[in-house]
Symmetry: C2
Subunit: 148 residues, 2 copies
Amino acid sequence: MADILHRIGIKSSSIDDVYQALTTRHGLAGWWTSNTQGEGNQVGNIIEFRFGAGGFDIKVSELTAPTYVGWVVVAGPDEWVGTTITWELKQEGEYVIVLFRHLNWKEPVEFMHHCSTKWAIFLMSLKSLIETGKGTPDPIDVKIDNWN
Amino acid sequence: MADILHRIGIKSSSIDDVYQALTTRHGLAGWWTSNTQGEGNQVGNIIEFRFGAGGFDIKVSELTAPTYVGWVVVAGPDEWVGTTITWELKQEGEYVIVLFRHLNWKEPVEFMHHCSTKWAIFLMSLKSLIETGKGTPDPIDVKIDNWN
Protein backbone atom coordinates (compact mmCIF):
# COMPACT_ATOMS: atom_id res chain seq x y z
CA MET A 1 0.00 0.00 0.00
CA ALA A 2 1.17 3.52 -0.79
CA ASP A 3 -0.13 6.93 0.21
CA ILE A 4 -0.11 10.48 -1.10
CA LEU A 5 0.25 13.08 1.67
CA HIS A 6 0.12 16.87 1.46
CA ARG A 7 -0.10 19.91 3.73
CA ILE A 8 -1.13 23.45 2.81
CA GLY A 9 -1.91 26.49 4.91
CA ILE A 10 -4.67 28.81 3.79
CA LYS A 11 -4.60 32.38 5.09
CA SER A 12 -8.08 32.53 6.56
CA SER A 13 -9.72 32.86 9.94
CA SER A 14 -12.70 30.83 8.75
CA ILE A 15 -12.18 27.09 8.87
CA ASP A 16 -15.83 26.83 7.82
CA ASP A 17 -15.07 28.51 4.47
CA VAL A 18 -12.56 25.75 3.74
CA TYR A 19 -14.99 23.06 4.91
CA GLN A 20 -17.62 24.49 2.54
CA ALA A 21 -15.15 24.37 -0.35
CA LEU A 22 -14.80 20.62 0.28
CA THR A 23 -18.44 19.77 0.84
CA THR A 24 -20.50 21.83 -1.62
CA ARG A 25 -20.80 21.49 -5.39
CA HIS A 26 -20.10 25.17 -5.81
CA GLY A 27 -16.98 25.03 -3.67
CA LEU A 28 -15.54 21.89 -5.26
CA ALA A 29 -16.19 23.27 -8.75
CA GLY A 30 -14.17 26.34 -7.78
CA TRP A 31 -10.85 24.56 -7.29
CA TRP A 32 -10.92 20.93 -8.55
CA THR A 33 -13.09 20.64 -11.63
CA SER A 34 -15.75 22.93 -13.02
CA ASN A 35 -17.67 19.82 -14.04
CA THR A 36 -18.72 18.66 -10.57
CA GLN A 37 -22.15 17.18 -9.88
CA GLY A 38 -23.58 16.44 -6.46
CA GLU A 39 -23.27 17.85 -2.98
CA GLY A 40 -20.77 16.57 -0.45
CA ASN A 41 -22.56 17.66 2.70
CA GLN A 42 -24.22 14.32 3.58
CA VAL A 43 -22.59 10.99 4.39
CA GLY A 44 -23.50 8.52 1.65
CA ASN A 45 -23.80 11.15 -1.10
CA ILE A 46 -22.05 10.51 -4.39
CA ILE A 47 -20.14 13.36 -6.03
CA GLU A 48 -19.26 13.07 -9.73
CA PHE A 49 -16.06 14.80 -10.79
CA ARG A 50 -15.40 14.97 -14.53
CA PHE A 51 -12.23 16.16 -16.27
CA GLY A 52 -11.13 16.46 -19.87
CA ALA A 53 -9.84 12.90 -19.81
CA GLY A 54 -12.27 10.98 -17.60
CA GLY A 55 -13.28 11.35 -14.00
CA PHE A 56 -14.11 9.91 -10.62
CA ASP A 57 -17.19 9.16 -8.54
CA ILE A 58 -16.62 9.66 -4.86
CA LYS A 59 -18.82 8.62 -1.93
CA VAL A 60 -18.81 10.78 1.17
CA SER A 61 -17.91 8.36 3.98
CA GLU A 62 -17.40 10.63 6.99
CA LEU A 63 -18.07 14.23 7.95
CA THR A 64 -17.21 16.08 11.14
CA ALA A 65 -17.91 19.76 10.47
CA PRO A 66 -15.75 21.77 10.15
CA THR A 67 -12.62 19.65 10.77
CA TYR A 68 -12.86 16.38 8.84
CA VAL A 69 -14.06 15.07 5.48
CA GLY A 70 -13.66 11.44 4.36
CA TRP A 71 -14.27 10.11 0.85
CA VAL A 72 -14.12 6.68 -0.80
CA VAL A 73 -13.56 6.44 -4.56
CA VAL A 74 -16.32 4.26 -6.01
CA ALA A 75 -15.74 4.69 -9.76
CA GLY A 76 -12.93 5.88 -12.02
CA PRO A 77 -9.52 4.57 -13.07
CA ASP A 78 -8.72 1.11 -11.65
CA GLU A 79 -5.89 2.56 -9.58
CA TRP A 80 -8.30 4.93 -7.83
CA VAL A 81 -11.25 2.65 -7.10
CA GLY A 82 -11.27 1.62 -3.44
CA THR A 83 -8.75 4.23 -2.36
CA THR A 84 -9.74 6.70 0.34
CA ILE A 85 -9.23 10.44 0.50
CA THR A 86 -9.27 12.32 3.79
CA TRP A 87 -9.20 16.00 4.67
CA GLU A 88 -8.22 17.16 8.16
CA LEU A 89 -8.62 20.87 8.91
CA LYS A 90 -7.34 22.91 11.85
CA GLN A 91 -6.79 26.57 12.65
CA GLU A 92 -3.17 27.56 13.40
CA GLY A 93 -2.81 31.29 13.96
CA GLU A 94 -3.84 33.09 10.79
CA TYR A 95 -3.84 29.86 8.73
CA VAL A 96 -6.32 27.07 8.20
CA ILE A 97 -4.05 24.02 7.86
CA VAL A 98 -5.24 21.28 5.52
CA LEU A 99 -3.77 17.81 5.95
CA PHE A 100 -4.64 15.87 2.82
CA ARG A 101 -4.26 12.11 2.40
CA HIS A 102 -5.03 9.87 -0.58
CA LEU A 103 -4.57 6.46 0.99
CA ASN A 104 -4.25 2.80 0.07
CA TRP A 105 -2.99 2.81 -3.48
CA LYS A 106 -2.27 -0.84 -4.31
CA GLU A 107 1.04 -0.05 -6.02
CA PRO A 108 3.25 3.05 -6.37
CA VAL A 109 2.71 3.11 -10.14
CA GLU A 110 3.82 5.98 -12.38
CA PHE A 111 0.23 7.28 -12.47
CA MET A 112 0.40 7.64 -8.69
CA HIS A 113 3.51 9.85 -9.06
CA HIS A 114 1.50 12.02 -11.48
CA CYS A 115 -1.52 12.20 -9.18
CA SER A 116 0.66 13.16 -6.22
CA THR A 117 2.03 16.21 -8.03
CA LYS A 118 -1.36 17.06 -9.48
CA TRP A 119 -2.98 16.93 -6.02
CA ALA A 120 -0.43 19.52 -4.84
CA ILE A 121 -1.42 21.74 -7.76
CA PHE A 122 -5.13 21.40 -6.99
CA LEU A 123 -4.51 22.06 -3.29
CA MET A 124 -2.77 25.30 -4.28
CA SER A 125 -5.89 26.04 -6.34
CA LEU A 126 -8.03 25.51 -3.22
CA LYS A 127 -5.71 27.85 -1.31
CA SER A 128 -6.07 30.45 -4.03
CA LEU A 129 -9.86 30.09 -4.13
CA ILE A 130 -10.17 30.87 -0.42
CA GLU A 131 -7.51 33.56 -0.30
CA THR A 132 -8.38 35.43 -3.49
CA GLY A 133 -11.84 34.18 -4.50
CA LYS A 134 -10.43 32.53 -7.61
CA GLY A 135 -9.15 28.98 -8.05
CA THR A 136 -7.84 27.21 -11.14
CA PRO A 137 -10.07 24.15 -11.53
CA ASP A 138 -10.03 21.91 -14.63
CA PRO A 139 -10.08 22.93 -17.47
CA ILE A 140 -8.02 26.00 -16.46
CA ASP A 141 -5.80 23.95 -14.15
CA VAL A 142 -2.00 24.22 -14.17
CA LYS A 143 -0.57 21.48 -16.41
CA ILE A 144 2.28 19.42 -15.02
CA ASP A 145 3.21 16.84 -17.68
CA ASN A 146 2.10 15.01 -20.85
CA TRP A 147 -0.74 13.39 -18.90
CA ASN A 148 -2.01 16.89 -18.11
CA MET B 1 8.54 3.51 5.85
CA ALA B 2 6.83 6.16 3.75
CA ASP B 3 7.71 7.72 0.41
CA ILE B 4 7.07 10.95 -1.48
CA LEU B 5 6.54 10.39 -5.21
CA HIS B 6 6.10 12.95 -8.00
CA ARG B 7 6.04 13.14 -11.79
CA ILE B 8 6.48 16.20 -13.98
CA GLY B 9 6.95 16.60 -17.72
CA ILE B 10 9.26 19.33 -18.97
CA LYS B 11 8.76 20.54 -22.53
CA SER B 12 12.27 20.01 -23.83
CA SER B 13 14.07 17.87 -26.34
CA SER B 14 17.23 17.95 -24.23
CA ILE B 15 17.26 15.43 -21.42
CA ASP B 16 20.82 16.60 -20.79
CA ASP B 17 19.61 20.12 -19.89
CA VAL B 18 17.49 18.59 -17.13
CA TYR B 19 20.34 16.36 -15.98
CA GLN B 20 22.58 19.46 -15.75
CA ALA B 21 19.95 21.24 -13.64
CA LEU B 22 20.20 18.36 -11.15
CA THR B 23 23.96 17.92 -11.11
CA THR B 24 25.53 21.40 -11.25
CA ARG B 25 25.61 24.12 -8.60
CA HIS B 26 24.36 26.64 -11.11
CA GLY B 27 21.43 24.45 -12.17
CA LEU B 28 20.36 23.50 -8.63
CA ALA B 29 20.57 27.15 -7.52
CA GLY B 30 18.20 28.01 -10.35
CA TRP B 31 15.22 26.05 -9.05
CA TRP B 32 15.73 24.75 -5.49
CA THR B 33 17.69 27.24 -3.44
CA SER B 34 19.88 30.13 -4.49
CA ASN B 35 22.16 29.25 -1.58
CA THR B 36 23.61 26.02 -2.98
CA GLN B 37 27.25 25.05 -2.53
CA GLY B 38 29.02 22.18 -4.25
CA GLU B 39 28.75 20.35 -7.52
CA GLY B 40 26.63 17.23 -8.00
CA ASN B 41 28.45 15.77 -10.96
CA GLN B 42 30.64 13.24 -9.07
CA VAL B 43 29.57 10.31 -6.93
CA GLY B 44 30.64 10.99 -3.35
CA ASN B 45 30.37 14.78 -3.63
CA ILE B 46 28.51 16.66 -0.91
CA ILE B 47 26.10 19.43 -1.92
CA GLU B 48 25.02 21.94 0.73
CA PHE B 49 21.54 23.39 0.29
CA ARG B 50 20.60 26.25 2.61
CA PHE B 51 17.18 27.86 3.02
CA GLY B 52 15.80 30.66 5.18
CA ALA B 53 15.03 28.18 7.93
CA GLY B 54 17.88 25.65 7.83
CA GLY B 55 19.05 23.27 5.17
CA PHE B 56 20.33 19.90 4.07
CA ASP B 57 23.63 18.29 3.10
CA ILE B 58 23.24 15.70 0.41
CA LYS B 59 25.76 13.13 -0.81
CA VAL B 60 25.65 12.09 -4.44
CA SER B 61 25.31 8.30 -4.33
CA GLU B 62 24.68 7.34 -7.94
CA LEU B 63 24.88 8.97 -11.37
CA THR B 64 23.98 7.55 -14.77
CA ALA B 65 24.09 10.47 -17.20
CA PRO B 66 21.63 11.64 -18.39
CA THR B 67 18.91 9.39 -16.95
CA TYR B 68 19.49 8.87 -13.23
CA VAL B 69 20.63 10.79 -10.16
CA GLY B 70 20.69 9.32 -6.63
CA TRP B 71 21.24 11.25 -3.42
CA VAL B 72 21.48 10.37 0.27
CA VAL B 73 20.70 13.01 2.90
CA VAL B 74 23.65 13.15 5.31
CA ALA B 75 22.75 16.22 7.42
CA GLY B 76 19.64 18.28 8.12
CA PRO B 77 16.40 17.78 10.04
CA ASP B 78 16.21 14.42 11.84
CA GLU B 79 13.34 13.32 9.61
CA TRP B 80 15.51 13.81 6.50
CA VAL B 81 18.80 12.25 7.59
CA GLY B 82 19.22 8.81 6.04
CA THR B 83 16.42 9.26 3.52
CA THR B 84 17.23 8.88 -0.17
CA ILE B 85 16.18 11.03 -3.10
CA THR B 86 16.19 9.68 -6.64
CA TRP B 87 15.64 11.28 -10.02
CA GLU B 88 14.75 9.19 -13.06
CA LEU B 89 14.65 11.00 -16.43
CA LYS B 90 13.30 9.83 -19.78
CA GLN B 91 12.28 11.44 -23.06
CA GLU B 92 8.62 10.94 -24.03
CA GLY B 93 7.77 12.79 -27.24
CA GLU B 94 8.29 16.50 -26.66
CA TYR B 95 8.63 16.06 -22.87
CA VAL B 96 11.42 15.08 -20.57
CA ILE B 97 9.62 13.12 -17.86
CA VAL B 98 11.02 13.36 -14.34
CA LEU B 99 10.11 10.65 -11.85
CA PHE B 100 11.03 11.96 -8.43
CA ARG B 101 11.18 9.88 -5.26
CA HIS B 102 12.05 10.87 -1.69
CA LEU B 103 12.20 7.46 -0.04
CA ASN B 104 12.35 5.84 3.38
CA TRP B 105 10.88 8.39 5.72
CA LYS B 106 10.64 6.65 9.10
CA GLU B 107 7.14 7.97 9.82
CA PRO B 108 4.47 9.84 7.81
CA VAL B 109 4.76 12.86 10.13
CA GLU B 110 3.08 16.20 9.45
CA PHE B 111 6.42 17.61 8.27
CA MET B 112 6.46 14.92 5.57
CA HIS B 113 3.06 16.13 4.33
CA HIS B 114 4.55 19.63 4.07
CA CYS B 115 7.67 18.41 2.26
CA SER B 116 5.58 16.43 -0.22
CA THR B 117 3.66 19.53 -1.30
CA LYS B 118 6.78 21.67 -1.27
CA TRP B 119 8.63 19.17 -3.50
CA ALA B 120 5.82 19.50 -6.05
CA ILE B 121 6.28 23.28 -5.96
CA PHE B 122 10.04 23.01 -6.45
CA LEU B 123 9.58 20.50 -9.28
CA MET B 124 7.35 23.03 -11.00
CA SER B 125 10.16 25.54 -10.46
CA LEU B 126 12.57 23.11 -12.19
CA LYS B 127 10.06 22.77 -15.05
CA SER B 128 9.85 26.55 -15.34
CA LEU B 129 13.64 26.94 -15.25
CA ILE B 130 14.10 24.64 -18.23
CA GLU B 131 11.08 25.83 -20.19
CA THR B 132 11.46 29.58 -19.65
CA GLY B 133 14.99 30.07 -18.29
CA LYS B 134 13.62 31.22 -14.95
CA GLY B 135 12.84 29.15 -11.86
CA THR B 136 11.59 30.22 -8.43
CA PRO B 137 14.20 28.93 -5.98
CA ASP B 138 14.28 29.90 -2.30
CA PRO B 139 13.99 32.73 -1.26
CA ILE B 140 11.58 33.59 -4.11
CA ASP B 141 9.84 30.19 -3.87
CA VAL B 142 6.06 29.83 -3.81
CA LYS B 143 4.90 29.63 -0.18
CA ILE B 144 2.46 26.86 0.72
CA ASP B 145 1.75 27.15 4.45
CA ASN B 146 2.89 28.60 7.80
CA TRP B 147 6.06 26.49 7.59
CA ASN B 148 6.85 28.27 4.33
